[in-house]
Amino acid sequence: MNDQKQSLLSILISSAVINQEIFRLDFIWKGPVPKPGQFFLIKPKRSAVFLARPISVALWQSDTVRFLIAKRGRGTEELLAMHLNEEVELTGPLGNCWEDFFPPENTQKPIALLGGGIGVAPLEGLPREFPKYDFDFYAGFRTGFKTDEERYGILGPAAFNAQNLIIATEDGSEGKKGRITNFLDPTKYAAVYACGPTAMLRAVTEKCKASGTPCYISMEKHMACGVGACLGCTVKTKNGNRRCCADGPIFPAEELIFE
């Protein structure tokens, strides 16, 4: 059980609109230091929605924490509308982390990071935090970046600190044309860490199963408590129901049952 978590009143210190769907928020955070793959519950102090929103942490420094967020509904729209210095309640860091599933340090093969759309966010912190490992970064999008601000806003240092960066778009306007999983050869890797749309996760699970490569997936669910108390975010696995918030959000792909 993760006891290294806190609820703190904080403030927004920076925000940026990256494209029509994605935006970035930086908050003061003086609580426990997060690990790549963990998430926070975020709720503006002045809010018209009932529940905080669970958002994976993208990057952090000593006193700040950064989130890359996709506009999905009323809760994320409210986050997008926050003003600088506005008060926010942050609860975290929550859930498990990629580190829990690292291959042995003497592994000869690199690790593949596979992000689809906003699914790149929970992978952002890995190459910076774990320079001992080699990472290749695979990022898939529907369409290409229109500006450099968009490119660097979404991909961030993870992609550019990786050994190899492979981008694919469905319309071919950036990088390779097609689904990003088509360009991944799991046999080259010690493990694959993935986050993104269900179709992508299903495809990477199949591919890794066929090649016998360990694959780990960060799942997304509607949540209420975020700490394992309410059982509202359960994920179906071969070992029964698991709590996305407290047992995950990262699960071995072979255990997951995609609905």
Partner: protein, 314 residues
């Protein structure tokens, strides 16, 4: 301002006696974590000082383990949320072995929320709880999210008595509180039937039966079609029900339904609740219960009350 911890104690709690006794069970203050919203007590460690709570109600427990409901389990509303968890739990035996020792050690009074599909299942569960260290049973005859049992026992006086009496007999050593459903057509009649069958206290409200439809899939959001609504949306209705129940029975009432802050809690205590439970508010703001405990203490100090019962206006 860079950071401020939210759960600062503003009042020296040792100066105000917040303790209250319900059916022989002593609570160090009248604020109890509601069933299904606080797991088995350890999940919120780190976020709040759990030992400060008056009591903790466990997640709904059944004799045998349950998987709960399939499909989406949560849906937010403008002032609350609907849930359809479906009593997922590891079964009473596993709870007693794996969760109760830790829950017991946290400090607050331990209330086991007991559910079931048949009278026999309820009674067998009650026997196990009777032989454990729990302080009180909260008999759940009001879960709207299971097809068999649950709320069907709580809608009708005879059906309610048919389960309360066997549980009373099966657990003679434990105070028995029955959690009522706001969906009962005649709540007072159900309440009186429960008291006549041996209930020492009553808690209400459980969630209101409600629903949502996904306009994109053109289907109900929940596999069971309906789900249970909680949160601030139900609070004024719940408060009215507590007020009316106070006139119908003589046993202590534990009131709940959308309580989110001190003001809400005081309203329920004024309406005649001996204690209150807080549920969904903890999701929206984890320190809510601690703030409420401090707020009640401040209010009592301001009004020179020496016991929480003095808050009541009934």
């Amino acid at each position: 301002m860079s950071k401020s911890k939210i759960n600062l104690s503003q009042v020296d709690l040792s100066q105000v006696d917040l303790s209250t006794t319900i059916a022989g069970v002593r609570f160090c203050n009248p604020v109890i974590a509601a069933s299904g919203t606080f797991g088995y007590g350890r999940e919120y460690a780190g976020l709040i000082d759990v030992s400060e709570l008056g009591g903790i109600c466990t997640k709904g427990l059944t004799l045998n383990p349950r998987q709960g409901n399939a499909g989406q389990r949560l849906h937010e509303t403008p002032a609350g949320l609907m849930n359809s968890i479906g009593l997922e739990n590891p079964g009473i035996a596993v709870f007693l072995e794996k969760e109760l020792p830790n829950l017991r050690a946290l400090g607050p009074a331990v209330i086991a929320n007991l559910s079931g599909s048949t009278v026999e299942e309820y009674a067998e569960g009650a026997v196990l709880l009777n032989n454990s260290s729990i302080d009180m049973i909260e008999l759940n005859i009001s879960c709207p999210n299971v097809k068999a049992g649950g709320m069907t026992f709580g809608l009708d006086p005879e059906a309610a008595a048919s389960v309360v009496w066997p549980v009373r007999k099966a657990a003679p050593d434990k105070p028995l509180m029955v959690k009522l459903s706001p969906n009962a057509p005649d709540l007072a009649a159900v309440a009186r039937a429960c008291v006549d069958a041996g209930a020492d206290a009553l808690s209400l409200v459980n969630t209101f039966k409600a629903m949502a439809i996904d306009i994109n899939t053109r289907k109900p959001v929940f596999d069971n079609t309906s789900a249970g609504l909680s949160g601030p949306a139900i609070r004024p209705i719940a408060l009215r029900m507590v007020w009316e129940l106070y006139d119908a029975v003589k046993v202590p009432i534990v009131g709940m339904g959308g309580i989110s802050n001190t003001n809400d809690a005081l309203e329920f205590l004024m309406a005649g609740s001996a204690a209150i439970e807080v549920g969904s508010a903890t999701f929206a703001h984890p320190p809510a219960m601690i703030e409420i405990i401090n707020g009640i203490a401040e209010y009592m100090e301001r009004h020179k009350f020496s016991r929480p019962e003095e808050i009541s206006i009934r």
